[in-house]
Amino acid sequence: MMIDHPLLGLRDAQEFTYLGDASLIDRPDWQAEDAQDAFHDYLYLRDNPAGAHRELWFHETGDRSWLVVTRNTLTHEITKVELARDVARARGRSK
């Protein structure tokens, strides 16, 4: 597979390490009332759709960016690649 890195262009997927569902960015609030349950769901309940899936890839042998790759798990078609940091900011993870 080829991943169109937002900073570096097309890179071979072999340069990356795969993590999985990008919902891991949405780490719950540790001080919330239901923190235990929220962390349980965060950690153990991941989506694994047959189709478009947003997932985390780490450019381990490259520039060490974490990316959010939108990949169709049936066809491997990649429709979007974002810097995970940008996604995290957009999802309100800025301090």
């Binding site: 597979m1 080829m2 071979d12 997927a13 390490t17 993590l19 891991l24 960015i25 780490r27 719950p28 540790w30 001080q31 923190a35 235990q36 962390f39 349980h40 965060y42 950690l43 985390l56 780490f58 381990e60 060490r64 960016s65 974490w66 066809t75 491997h76 078609e77 990649i78 810097l83 995970a84 940091r85 996604v87 995290a88 900011r89 993870r93 800025s94 301090k95």
Partner: protein, 985 residues
């Protein structure tokens, strides 16, 4: 022996005669021959024995789809089994052996299987070898293993070199027949970067095997001219002997180039084969089509061949399979074979066409509406029996029967991304479906365009379209006038009512009867049929048999072929040697070897090394007279604790953490608090997984307000860094902090023992104060040593002694260990390896990988109080889960044997002093154990339920694996200096 069946013409170099041997006999052929064509030219039809019944078999095809003619090529350590004689290029001195035959190809004892074939039908493994059960492993399997299988291997190391390579192109063209050549010319002339790959050693595909003209030129001349032009273009890369084996994601293709297989003597400095990874922007599959056989009784005798293969041998290689050749066909293309044979002077006694309205053949008798119902000849075909249209039978003498059942487009690569082919009723064949691998188009015969004119036009227009996609305007080449015959075929798969077995899959000895049996036994799915009968398996992957099997199955179920299904094709297209897959990653090159900065010095000392991941670390340093590793390790431990020892600890992961928010960041990735760590201090840190399990530990040294150096364990250096980057980018994206791995930038040594300070004083520069007051326990700093060399000094201790770790830029690592050892001479300094390191950390009760085993929490490790409840950090929320916070749960404690001479064994499980030993009564387990030379007995540490409250209790350490049980006493895990006085000395 002379070449009795050699004809005139052909694309062979008669000026270069080649000698070769097959099954112990000598033959001659010409340059340009394959092993198969040369054997046919010499009148040899028998080339192998079949897999199951050891039936005599000859060559069926003239290409890589060959199911029968598998031979062992070369000898000794270069012996290669299951090589198809049809694609093995002849070279001087080639040595080939028939497979699966004993004692000889002509008389094979195992042919007795053929007599008991009633017992060896579909699924016979499953039915016959079921009982008694223990017989499978000891009796049946070894016998089956010996009897089955085709070739044999030498069991010697492969001496050849294999390589991997990477290529990029705008357009990859797979197959250099008329379609591929027209596409390559069209794309090449407009300047696109083109790769044209073909599995053959001569490009041109069917153009080399046919007598058709393209314009004024013969097909092979037109091809030669096209290839010459392409070779002159810098933007075109021609790859002969290169099989594209797989279509992978996003335009990536795998290809195997056989660089030296055709040479008598491999050049040692060149790879034998290269596995290419081709990155293409667009790809065109121009792989042509394969003729398929018709099944009839005894259709497996040597001499029964595909009609197109007969044409290839006669036209391209000037080798006639026999002097008299009968044709059996269901389509017009079969008639072409008759015409070509007659033109070459080969006798064609009859053309048997299943169609009642078959067109006449000039120069041969046509038997329209007739079918072949049997064949004769023990080791080779002597005659065929024909059932005529009027029901009478007739025997016709011949040495070869050319069979044509129509053509199957080579759709294989279109299926590699799970695309399914579509049924085309006009061709009675599967053509590529609409779901192709991204960037791929299919043209020519592979796309069901079977005439030469269609192939050329499809290739040219396909290239224009593919380049148009990329924004390049290409102009289709001018197409020469050529054959454009329509498809004229009557679907016909197998002859009904024959007396003997009709073979569907020649490689796996699967007959029409086997398919019927599988159907009777309710195997409905084609995939199940395949596995039950083994149809379509092994080296040819059913290229000539899948379609036939499917057709028979369809007939039996009363469904149409497309309703019955198709088998999916997977990479590789043709077999790939394991060596090619491995490339250079063999032996020592299988994974990299990382050497520590003191490696060469340690080698000089005669150190014994151990692998730690990719690292090689000194395990111990034997001295003269030491005959057992324990002697060396005990000495290293005792000497370190008595005076001073030096150990290379470079392999620990080092991560440089810098930025305004560095301390805040470390607070989040470590379970314990770091925000208030003063500059110039080091703190032990524990990292948790988000699920609350401890996974790594190390130290963080604060060199400046905004600068920390973090260490990880050797094993987790990569993972900890990855997790920290995840935390930095994905969880807390706006912290001002930067990370970089500096594991390899610094050489680091532990200097441990009561004389450590005295030794170091001789090394560090005069202005560096390392007194206990000036540089106390857990101090750190940037210093200079050996006269101005920048270094880092950490007062940390894994051994429990007064100890430092000193780091210098890696290139000074070798010099530093020598300097340390020289300075330490007066203290009788000892280097110590990983074994002594391990003994000392167990004596001190420090956790390591055995304790951080992926199931234990900070609480289990006795570090529960370290986990800060006042801050957010990875893992703290879930570490408080009920199941992980049991007050009476496992705790890290120490164990001593009650009888001093008894060994404590890691992995042993702890049981109460009396009672049953079982999983139900398990009290915990020992994780690490060693002989402690300081205590004079074996000791261990491990996890015990409610361990902190059970000091002094006697337990049994049960080791049922080795059948021993040892009585142990629960003690503190800190065997040495529990108060930590030595560290602070």
């Amino acid at each position: 022996m002379n070449q009795v069946n050699r004809l005139t013409g052909g694309q062979i170099n008669r000026a270069k005669e080649l000698n070769f041997r097959f099954d112990g006999r000598s033959f001659k052929g010409f340059e340009g021959d394959t092993l198969a064509s040369a054997l046919l030219a010499n009148g040899e039809r028998l080339m192998g024995r079949s897999f199951k019944y050891h039936r005599p078999r000859g060559v069926l095809t003239a290409g890589s789809e060959e199911p029968n003619a598998l031979v062992e090529l070369r000898q000794g350590n270069r012996q290669e089994p299951n090589t198809r004689a049809t694609v093995a290029e002849l070279f001087e001195g080639l040595e080939a052996k028939a497979q699966n035959a004993w004692p000889s190809l002509r008389f094979d004892a195992m042919a007795v299987n053929d007599r008991i074939s009633n017992f060896l039908t579909a699924g016979f493994y499953y039915k016959t070898f079921m009982w008694p059960k223990p017989f499978w492993e000891k009796v049946y399997e070894p016998i089956i293993r010996k009897a089955a299988g085709l070739g044999s291997i030498s069991f010697e190391d492969d001496p050849d070199l294999y390589d991997k390579g990477f290529l990029h192109c705008d357009l990859l063209i797979i197959g250099a027949g008329p379609t591929g050549l027209a596409a390559a010319l069209t794309a090449g002339r407009c300047g696109a970067r083109v790769i044209l790959a073909d599995e053959d050693f001569r490009m041109g595909g069917r153009l080399n095997a046919e007598t058709l003209a393209l314009g004024d030129a013969s097909g092979s001349d037109w091809a030669a001219e096209a290839i010459a032009e392409l070779a002159s273009l810098d933007n075109v890369r021609l790859m002969t002997r290169t099989t594209v084996i797989g279509a992978f994601d996003h335009g990536i293709y795998g290809a195997v180039e056989r660089v030296q297989d055709h040479l008598p003597q491999a050049q040692a400095d060149k790879p034998r084969q290269i596995l290419w990874r081709i990155y293409s922007r667009r790809a065109m599959l121009c792989a042509g089509a394969m003729e398929r056989p018709i099944a009839f009784a005894d259709n497996d005798r040597p001499g029964v061949m595909l009609a197109s293969a007969v044409r290839s041998y006669v036209n391209r290689w000037a080798a006639a399979p026999a002097q008299e050749i009968v044709i059996f066909t269901n389509n017009d293309d079969g008639h072409r074979t008759a015409a070509d044979l007659i033109a070459k002077g080969v006798k064609v006694p009859a053309v048997i066409d299943v169609r009642a309205d078959a067109p006449a053949v000039a120069g041969a008798e046509l038997l329209a509406g007739a079918e072949v119902i049997g064949t004769e000849g023990r080791l080779g075909l002597t005659s065929v029996t024909v059932r005529l249209a009027n029901g009478q039978t007739r025997k016709i003498k011949c040495g070869s029967l050319a069979v044509s059942g129509g053509w199957n487009p080579n759709v294989h690569l279109t299926c590699h991304q799970r695309g399914r082919p579509h049924w085309n009723a006009e061709l009675a064949a599967f053509v590529p479906g609409p779901e192709l691998p991204s960037g791929m188009t299919v043209a020519g015969a592979a796309n069901g365009q079977l005439s030469t004119a269609q192939a050329l036009a499809g290739g040219a227009s396909g290239a224009v379209a593919a380049l148009g996609d990329l924004g390049t305007t290409a102009k289709a080449i001018d197409l020469p006038q050529t054959e454009d015959a329509p498809i004229a075929l009557k679907p016909f798969w197998h002859v009904q009512g024959g007396k003997s077995r009709a073979w569907v899959d020649l490689q796996n000895d699967v007959t029409v009867k086997d398919v019927k049996l599988a159907h009777q036994e309710n195997f409905v799915s084609v995939e199940h049929l395949k596995r039950y009968t083994t149809l379509g398996m092994a080296t040819d992957q059913g290229k000539t048999s899948n379609m036939l099997g499917l057709a028979v199955m369809a007939e039996l179920t009363g469904k149409s072929i497309p309703e019955t299904g198709t088998t999916i094709f997977r990479p590789p297209y043709t077999p790939v040697p394991m060596g090619t897959m491995a490339g250079r990653a063999t032996g020592k090159h299988f994974h990299p070897t990382r050497k520590t900065p003191s490696h060469h010095w340690a080698e000089e000392q005669g150190a014994v090394f151990t692998e730690v991941g990719d690292w090689l670390r000194a395990q111990w340093f034997p001295r003269q007279g030491e005959t057992h590793w324990r002697q060396s390790v005990d000495r290293e431990v005792l000497q370190t604790r008595k005076s001073v020892g030096v150990c290379d600890v470079t392999t620990l992961g080092k991560i440089d953490v810098q930025g305004k928010d560095a301390a805040t960041f470390l607070n989040k990735v470590y379970a314990n608090a770091f925000a208030k760590l003063p500059v110039g201090k080091v703190r032990y840190g524990l990292m948790l997984r988000e699920d609350g399990i401890a996974y790594d530990d190390g130290t963080a040294a604060r060199l400046a307000e905004d600068h920390f150096v973090v260490t990880t364990t050797t094993a987790n250096a990569v993972l900890a860094y990855r997790n920290m980057e995840f935390a930095r980018q994905c969880l807390w994206p706006d912290l001002d902090v930067q990370l970089i791995s500096t594991t390899e930038a610094w050489a680091q040594y532990a200097v441990a023992g009561p004389n450590a300070r005295k030794l170091l004083k001789k090394i560090v520069d005069a202005d560096v104060d390392i007194s206990n007051e000036g540089f106390p326990f857990m101090a750190c700093g940037e210093i200079t040593l050996c006269g101005g060399l920048r270094a880092r000094l950490f007062r940390i201790s894994f051994s429990g002694e007064l100890a430092y770790e000193v780091a210098v830029p890696t290139r000074y690592g070798d010099a530093l260990v020598r300097a340390l050892m020289e300075a330490g001479e007066e203290f009788d300094v000892t280097p110590y390896g990983t074994e002594a390191l391990g003994v000392m950390r167990i004596e001190k009760g420090h956790a390591a990988g055995n304790e951080l085993n992926g199931t234990t929490t900070a609480l289990n490790l006795g570090l529960g109080r370290m986990v800060s409840k006042k801050k957010d950090c990875i893992g703290n929320t879930l570490s408080e889960r009920k199941g992980l916070s049991d007050a009476a749960g496992l705790r890290l404690v120490g164990f001593r044997p009650v009888k001093a001479q008894d060994p404590v064994t890691a992995g042993a499980h702890l049981m109460r002093a009396s009672g049953e030993i079982s999983a139900d009564t398990d009290q915990g387990y020992i994780t690490s154990a060693c002989f402690s030379p300081n205590l004079g007995c074996s000791i261990g540490i491990g996890f015990l339920k409610d361990g902190a409250n059970r000091m002094g209790e006697k337990l049994r350490a049960a080791n049922p694996l080795e059948g021993s049980t040892v009585e142990v006493e629960v003690v503190s895990a800190h065997f040495i200096d529990p108060e930590g006085e030595r560290l602070r000395a």
